[in-house]
Amino acid sequence: MFGEFDYTFRYDSNDVSIHVDQSEGFYKYFRKSAGESITKAISGGSGIMAINPVEPVNLPQEVTSYLEIHFTPVAVEPASTQLVYLNFPIEIGVFLESKGDFDILDIFSLATPKYSLYGPPEEGIITRYHESPVSGTLPHTDRLKEGVVSLTIANTSRSWIEVSRVVLDCRELFLYYSDIVSIIARMDILSKDIADVRSENRPLREGMKPSVLLSKARKTLIPEKIPFMMEFGVGD
């Protein structure tokens, strides 16, 4: 389903049905999934439709730009690095592209959204919440629902640290897709309470395509590219 298509595109599966029809002088976009039906008119027929995974923080309503993944605790020894694989929920963005400009047409998801609070209620941040198994090898995922995070955990402290969650800033995310959806991220642990987390702009495998992300399509001004600092702990 992911890729760039013209308006003759059609996708039907048990979970999702997407197509564009030409009627009453308009192109009309139809999408049916998760008990929801959407119809939108598109003006002009010279554009391209791009469908790809996007940052999972838009549904049912945008309340945050952070993704928090909880996983089975991993004890990381001092001054060492550990690579783990996690999964994360995805949302699917349908974009219209014309002359190099992208605009969002539709967002939907086959994953159930859940939100949480990272940190205390007075100064924490709302996060999109997901519980994931942790694995040392690339896990199998349904790419319409989930992606894979390749997370390098670097413990730069002098003590063993138990890590059971990571918070990613979706404004700084880089998503790639092919037969899987992937994020490469790195977590530099400074202490059991503080870690820097950043997403790296490279694919997990050769040949993967970069996703058009909502933060880019909306042309949001992001003043500085700094890693997100987890300052309310890396464990439970």
């Binding site: 309340v63 949480s116 609070l117 209620p121 007075e122 709302i126 919440y129 909306r218 042309k219 001004l221």
Partner: protein, 275 residues
């Protein structure tokens, strides 16, 4: 044309005044055009409050700069003007203490930032959403859609309740179920509803417990945390969902009832009744 050369004050002629007035009008128009352009270009890239502040700052800068360049048409000594301006400023400040107080309060509000544009707040009896923070006053739109101008001094010296400064808020519900109902089953179905609700936060986890054994039934207290931005919609939406769930699971929400026993009756039998 002789009237244009008429001296009004010092070396300032009517023509100087007209040139100055035209310059100011042009500068104001330029400032408006620039702000319109900025609004169009940046409205989808910046938060509304931040954009408003940026545009206002640029407008003020353009107007001040325009006036600065227009002043030489008066042959004014700018240094002298600054001194005179400062003195006049002081006199005005003393003469209009309320305005000065509102102005300084406005500056402190901008520095301390107890409220931001878009925040849901309550100040004294005024509840609503902050629309604009101006130099002298703050504009609040009440939930009924009424425009309220609040002087900044009043905001600065009042207790401000800001409902969205903290990222999450707690909602409390109290409900009663019949004595004949299975409390564990009821708690389980409510927790399942909370697990499936996107905005009932996973952490801090919802709490549900028996808080009292009431006259009509078992009193249950529920605490859930939700994102502040969607607090109102969740608060008003959850009770209906819980009611639907209770109907589906056939869990009784009892009406107030009282058992009345007559120890003796004309026929000698015992009668029980409820209402």
């Amino acid at each position: 044309m002789a009237s244009l050369d008429t001296v009004i004050y010092g070396d300032v002629t009517v023509l100087d005044l007209i040139i100055f007035a035209i310059s100011v009008v042009i500068v104001v128009i330029v400032a408006k055009v620039v702000s319109l352009y900025l609004k169009r270009a940046l409205s989808d890239r910046m938060e509304r409050g931040e954009l408003d502040k940026l545009i206002r700052g640029i407008q003020v800068a353009i107007i001040l700069l325009g006036i600065w360049f227009a002043l030489p048409s008066f042959n004014f000594d700018v240094g002298q003007l600054l001194v005179v301006g400062g003195t006049v400023g002081l006199i005005i400040a003393f003469a209009s203490q309320k305005i000065a107080s509102n102005l300084s309060s406005g500056i402190f509000i901008l520095i301390e930032r107890p409220i931001r544009i878009g925040d849901d707040i309550r100040i004294n009896d005024i509840s609503g959403t902050v629309e604009q923070i101006r130099v002298l006053s703050t504009i609040v739109k009440t939930y009924d859609g009424v425009y309220v101008r609040v002087p900044n001094e009043q905001i600065f010296t009042s207790d401000i309740i800001n409902y969205v400064t903290n990222p999450a808020r707690r909602i409390k519900y109290i409900m009663t179920i019949g004595y004949g109902e299975n409390v564990d089953q009821m708690m389980h179905v409510i927790m399942t509803l909370f697990d499936e609700h996107p905005f009932v936060l996973a952490h801090p986890a919802p709490t549900i417990f028996v808080s009292a054994l009431g006259e009509s039934g078992v009193e249950i207290t529920i605490y859930v945390w939700v994102p502040s931005r969607v607090w109102w919609s969740v608060k008003t939406n959850l009770p209906g969902q819980i009611k639907e769930l209770f109907d589906r699971e056939e869990i009784e929400i009892p009406s107030p009832q009282r058992i009345v026993r007559f120890t003796s009756s004309p026929t000698g039998s015992e009668i029980e009744g409820g209402s």
